[in-house]
Amino acid sequence: MIRESLIMRIHYITGISALFVVAVHITMRLLMPFDSSIEYQNIIANYHNIAYSILLESILVLIAIHGFNGLRIMLLELRQNRLWENGVTIFTISAMMTVVAYGTRTIILAQGLGA
């Protein structure tokens, strides 16, 4: 079992790290007029850039860990018993892995698309 103090430290580290990578992600949308930056060709060009794809993957993993652990903390504040706590932990870890897998699939497939 991982100690809650370690989980809280992971929560803070993922939160602070997400702040930096999301700032870069938003800056990429503001380098040109917003409407142009979300055109299909621009988005595909972003995905073809390996460094940017790694950044997107890190955003996906960091926010999924931070977000679903936050949800877990909120749900554990509402009720405390072994069944509920184990159920909440299993549910949040499964949901986190599903979102990460689905987002990773998009990043991989988009790299193969032509602009």
């Binding site: 809280m8 803070y12 939160g15 602070i16 702040l19 999301v22 503001l30 007029p33 917003f34 409407d35 979300i38 299909y40 988005i43 595909i44 995905y47 996906l60 926010i63 999924a64 977000g67 679903f68 936050g70 949800l71 909120m74 504040e77 509402l78 009720r79 979102v99 689905y102 987002g103 699939r105 998009t106 497939l109 988009a110 698309l113």
Partner: protein, 152 residues
């Protein structure tokens, strides 16, 4: 045995569940901050899942992407994005305040409890941190509105 039953019943009566979690009325700004931190966190998690799903339409080709953009590039879509900007700014700045507080920073020195027994930890540093979070969220929303509805 009787005492144990009584204490169990008192504990049960004190359980307010979701109502207790949502009620900011009996508490100060710290409770409002607690509530906003959770509310914005939930909202941002829902947005994040939606955003991951939304971007997956890329794999369907240009037509699928443009069809999705037509849904989100509306006035309502932009207002929703402005709310996301405000929520993420508040959640980030208030989250940093909470990390400092969890580390013992900004809590003040322990002192003798005197009437009216105000908690020393709930001081002006904490309150100003909450206000700074709210003000920065408002400013970020204004900038976001300028980008989405303006000419930038």
């Amino acid at each position: 045995m009787e005492t144990s039953k009584e204490s169990n019943s008192t504990v049960r009566n004190n359980r307010e569940g979701l109502k207790g979690w949502l009620n900011p009325a009996r508490y100060g700004w710290e409770r409002v901050s607690y509530w906003f931190q959770r509310l914005t966190g939930l909202f941002l998690l829902i947005y994040f899942i939606g955003h991951v799903y939304e971007t997956s339409s890329l794999t369907g080709g240009q037509a699928a992407w443009n069809a999705l953009l037509a849904l989100t590039q509306t006035v309502q879509g932009h207002i929703f994005l402005i709310l996301v900007i405000g929520a993420s700014t508040f959640h980030s700045v208030n989250g940093i305040r909470l990390i400092f507080t969890h580390g013992g920073m900004g809590l003040g020195k322990p002192g003798r409890p005197d009437y009216p027994y105000d908690a020393l930890s709930l001081n002006y540093r904490q309150k100003s941190g909450i206000w700074i979070s709210l003000i920065l969220a408002a400013l970020a929303m204004l900038y976001g509105a300028d980008v989405l509805f303006g000419t930038k």
